[in-house]
């Protein structure tokens, strides 16, 4: 049930590999702390890999939005990678699909950072 998070650096982009559930409570906190930690270390080009995220609730969606606006407000960029169908559908329903820059190929996503 819990969410796990790990990071990799590729060509100046920090890839955050997330797995599990991003829901109210632990999952949302893990994501929030991860983004805060990266920004404090000056990592402002962030690619969230959601390929192994099985479930997101409305709190998790809110946390993704918060991460996006927080990174952008600090002059950075946040993109999403490898959405599962459930997460893809959720972002479409909530009209956030057009807000986020969403990629399905890691190499293409990394090149897309300014």
């Amino acid at each position: 049930m819990t969410m796990k998070s790990s990071t990799r650096q590729v060509d100046g982009v920090t890839i955050v590999d997330l797995s599990g559930r991003i829901t109210l409570g632990e999952g949302s906190v893990v994501l929030r702390d991860q983004i805060r930690d990266l920004l404090s270390k000056g990592n402002k080009r962030i690619l969230l890999n959601l390929g192994d995220v099985s479930y997101i609730d409305s709190s998790g969606i809110g946390e993704l939005v918060s991460a996006y606006t927080t990174v952008r407000n600090q002059g950075g960029e946040l993109k999403l990678l490898n959405l599962t169908k459930k997460v893809h559908d959720l972002l479409q329903i909530t009209k956030l699909y057009t807000v986020f820059d969403i990629k399905d190929d890691e190499a293409t996503a990394i090149k897309a950072f300014a």
Binding site: M1, T23, L24, G25, Y55, D57, S58, S59, I61, G62, E63, V65, S66, Y68, T69, K86, L90, I93, T94, K95, L96, V99
Partner: protein, 147 residues
């Protein structure tokens, strides 16, 4: 399947939310809903339970979460009640409005209405009861129930 009515009275905690979600998933499965519909049901139930615990009862240990499941008819009917200050769904902002798209919260009721066939609200004294209905075998034409 043989229908039944069951109800639970639970503490206002996130553990209770997870419990209710798991019960909903099992009942939806036992009621014959396919994976995609089960996901919608369990997500709507989770959102309603979170609202009851977080916004309704505000984690107050003296206030309880009451959840009922009814599988006796041609639908799965789930009612979730809190003992909070009450919710008027008509006052909720539209989360799809451009000015609200980047807000961190405010999508729960919208998702519930999207995922269920019918959604009804009832003001209690104190608290709010939300009833979620999913019909078996076909999608209902009307999504919105009355308050």
């Amino acid at each position: 399947m043989t229908g039944k009515r069951v109800s639970y009275t639970l503490d206002s905690t996130l553990e209770s939310v997870n419990t209710v979600e798991q019960i909903a998933d099992k009942l939806a499965k036992d009621s014959g809903f396919e994976d995609e519909e089960r996901h919608k049901i369990t997500m709507a139930v989770r959102e309603a339970s979170v609202n009851a615990v977080l916004h309704g009862n505000a984690y107050d240990p003296s206030k309880k979460l009451t959840v009922g499941f009814d599988t006796t008819g041609d639908a799965l009917v789930i009612s979730i009640a809190d003992q909070g200050r009450g919710l008027d769904p008509a006052t909720l902002p539209d989360p799809l409005a451009p000015e609200n798209l980047l807000k961190q919260s405010g999508r729960g009721i919208f998702l519930i209405r999207t995922f269920m066939d019918e959604v009804r609200f009832r003001i209690l004294d104190p608290g709010t009861e939300i009833t979620l209905i999913k019909h078996r075998g076909h999608a209902a034409e009307g999504k919105e129930g009355s308050k």
